[in-house]
Symmetry: C2
Subunit: 99 residues, 2 copies
């Protein structure tokens, strides 16, 4: 059975997530990763977003630090997966705090 793990967010994480979502470019990146059913390679993002490698790397780190995505090295490449539990926890928290 699918374990419906309830993720608990610290105050810091709450802020990190909000900040991660607050940059339009980062939002679009996360949107793309979330739309993918499987992993998203880093290089595929570079084609989409017309962005400098350094900038992309920076944004990916922010998203990962916030806990919104997970990265996995595959040889020379890096693949990204969304972490829906964390987003769900964020939505739940907003609803509970600000409903």
């Amino acid at each position: 059975m699918a374990t419906a793990t309830q993720v608990e967010l610290t105050e810091d994480q709450l802020t990190l997530i909000a900040k991660a979502l607050a940059d339009p470019r980062r939002y679009e990146i996360l949107k793309k990763i979330s739309a993918q059913t499987c992993c998203t390679p880093c290089s595929s993002m570079r084609d989409c977003f017309d962005i400098a490698p350094a900038t992309l790397s920076h944004h990916m780190k922010e998203l990962e630090t916030a806990g919104l995505i997970h990265s996995e090295k595959e040889g020379k490449f890096v693949n990204y997966k969304p972490r829906p539990e964390v987003l769900r926890a964020y939505l739940t928290r907003l609803k509970s705090d600000l409903a």
Copy 2:
């Protein structure tokens, strides 16, 4: 019957809301306003948050510009009300974009 008005968010509003939520102090302020069943006077916030008047005024403007609250002058005072439709629209949008 309660009109379930569906609020549509522009890209700019989306960013404004995310930014508004990304500052911890502002988040706490909004939390307090949302918890209130009725209006929240500006002065009552000053007691709670140990904040300079100028800073508070700045944050309130940000929250209002984002559309998350509504302000009303009452003589010398200002009262604030949450705008749950806007928050709801934001949650809906996040869910639809990033689910």
